[in-house]
């Protein structure tokens, strides 16, 4: 059996667990804990402290694993471990919470620095009223026009599927160009 992996990263409460849950054929193995910090408790009740884990069986010989990183910065020591050997990564960002964009930039730059692999950025929660426009997000996140910034709704399978496919197309394009 061959296995490959992709990593889903992003700030606290950006939708990583939901993203993996939408597409994984097994219930996401989530290592969540109740939140005690007051500010964070307002956003959600539990957070991932080590990683989320999802699986997609491709055929009898190949399995894709999806790993979600913990969103809180104090667990960033896990990021490098999780990113080892990944095929590519997805940075999830909550389009309606500009207060997380700075952290998203930081996560993006950190991953770019130690993981020279293809990646895409998913602008989650594009279906809510307060969501920032994609082009404003691109500028706020300082994304080069060549980087894919994809509108996404992490709870919608079609949307999640499209983000994963875009990442795979980027990986394929990278291979074509001799990467």
């Amino acid at each position: 059996m061959q296995t490959v992996k992709m990593v889903v990263t992003g700030p606290f409460s950006s939708g990583k667990t939901q993203f993996i849950g939408s597409v994984s054929e097994i219930d996401v193995v989530a290592t969540e804990r109740k939140i005690t910090a007051e500010g964070e408790k307002d956003v959600k009740d539990a957070t991932t402290v080590a990683m989320d884990f999802g699986r997609i069986t491709v055929d009898e010989d190949l399995v894709l694993y999806l790993f979600g990183t913990p969103g809180q910065k104090r667990f960033d020591f896990m990021w490098e471990i999780l990113s080892e050997g990944m095929l590519g990564f997805i940075v999830m960002i909550d389009s309606a919470r500009p207060e997380t964009f700075r952290e998203a930039r930081s996560i993006l730059e950190t991953f770019r620095a130690y993981a020279p692999t293809p990646y895409v950025v998913a602008a989650n929660k594009q279906d809510v009223d307060d969501a920032w426009e994609i082009e404003d997000m691109r500028n706020a996140l300082r994304l080069d026009s060549s980087i894919k910034l994809l509108p996404c709704v992490a709870t919608d399978l079609k949307s999640v599927k499209s983000v994963l496919l875009e990442l795979l197309y980027s990986i394929l394009a990278e291979m074509e160009t001799g990467g």
């Binding site: 190949l62 394929l172 990467g179």
Partner: protein, 270 residues
């Protein structure tokens, strides 16, 4: 859709950067704890700015900029209260009191002063109102790069700079967007020293070493250049995205492509 938030999370410099990069037209409204400010932009350039309860009329700005005496200002208020700023400007030019340059210079310096004041705000809700411009005021066209660089120089908090630029093992390249021109920007000697070493071959850590700057200094300078839209972070040349060997269970290129295609087919079938 919304372009709004709090200055706690988005500095004024970052907002100017957004407006600049997207060449936005509209008005940025900032509601601070004690005052409200409105800064308008046309095509990504500063057009107008007003803060607090100050009267943002041309007469008041010219008076503040010492282009009109107190008597002249009073007399204009009394007799020409009904004329628009544009009409008043023309009247003053035609009467030989002031030149067009005097008027535009006073407006520009006043608007820049407002933005500089805004740099000191750390709290306050902001929203950008697309395409809204003050109709009855004279607009200027002022590039934002210099203001952005100026605002970025004020950011000295180590933690925030480290968030913005987490790794110095990345390189820099000049932005290729239209309008980004170093010649029009007032850079300090230190900034020029860094700029002279910018090439995708040089990591930021190497530039810091060569220019004898510590981590804080190099981050602060690079942050300003990034905010002004002049440079971008890039992978060092020679470290282009490469598929590392341990990413695939096989080393055969064709099998690797085949594997990715199988993944694509599987996910397409959902």
């Amino acid at each position: 859709m919304a372009l709004n938030g709090n200055l706690r999370d988005f500095t004024v410099t970052q907002l100017l950067n957004l407006v600049n990069l997207a060449s936005k037209t509209g008005t940025l409204v900032v509601e601070g704890p004690n005052e409200r400010a409105e800064v308008s932009f046309r095509g990504g350039k500063l057009a107008y700015a007003m803060i607090g309860r100050e009267n943002g009329s041309l007469a008041s700005i010219l008076h503040k900029g010492k282009k009109l005496s107190a008597n002249q200002y009073r007399s204009i208020q009394k007799r020409a209260g009904h004329v628009t700023d544009k009409e008043l400007g023309l009247l003053l030019i035609n009467a030989g009191y002031l030149s067009q340059e005097d008027i535009l210079g006073a407006l520009q310096s006043n608007f820049m002063g407002v933005v500089r004041q805004l740099f000191t705000w750390v709290e306050g809700f902001f929203r950008f109102e697309n395409d809204k411009l003050p109709e009855d005021r004279i607009n200027v066209r002022l590039d934002l790069e210099n203001l952005i660089i100026e605002g970025s120089r004020q950011l000295r908090e180590w933690e925030q700079l480290q968030d913005e630029i987490p790794s110095l093992e990345m390189a820099l390249k000049f932005a290729d967007r239209p309008g980004a021109n170093l010649k029009n920007v007032n850079l300090s000697v230190e900034e020029w020293r860094v700029v002279s070493y910018i090439t995708p071959k040089n990591k930021m850590s190497q530039i810091a070493k060569t220019t004898k700057m510590d981590d804080l200094e190099i981050r602060r300078i690079v942050y300003g250049l990034i905010q002004a839209g002049l440079v971008e972070i890039t992978r060092p040349e020679g470290a282009k995205p490469k598929l590392a060997q341990d990413m695939f269970p096989t080393q055969d290129k064709q099998e690797q492509k085949n594997l990715v295609n199988r993944l694509i087919n599987r996910i397409s079938g959902f």
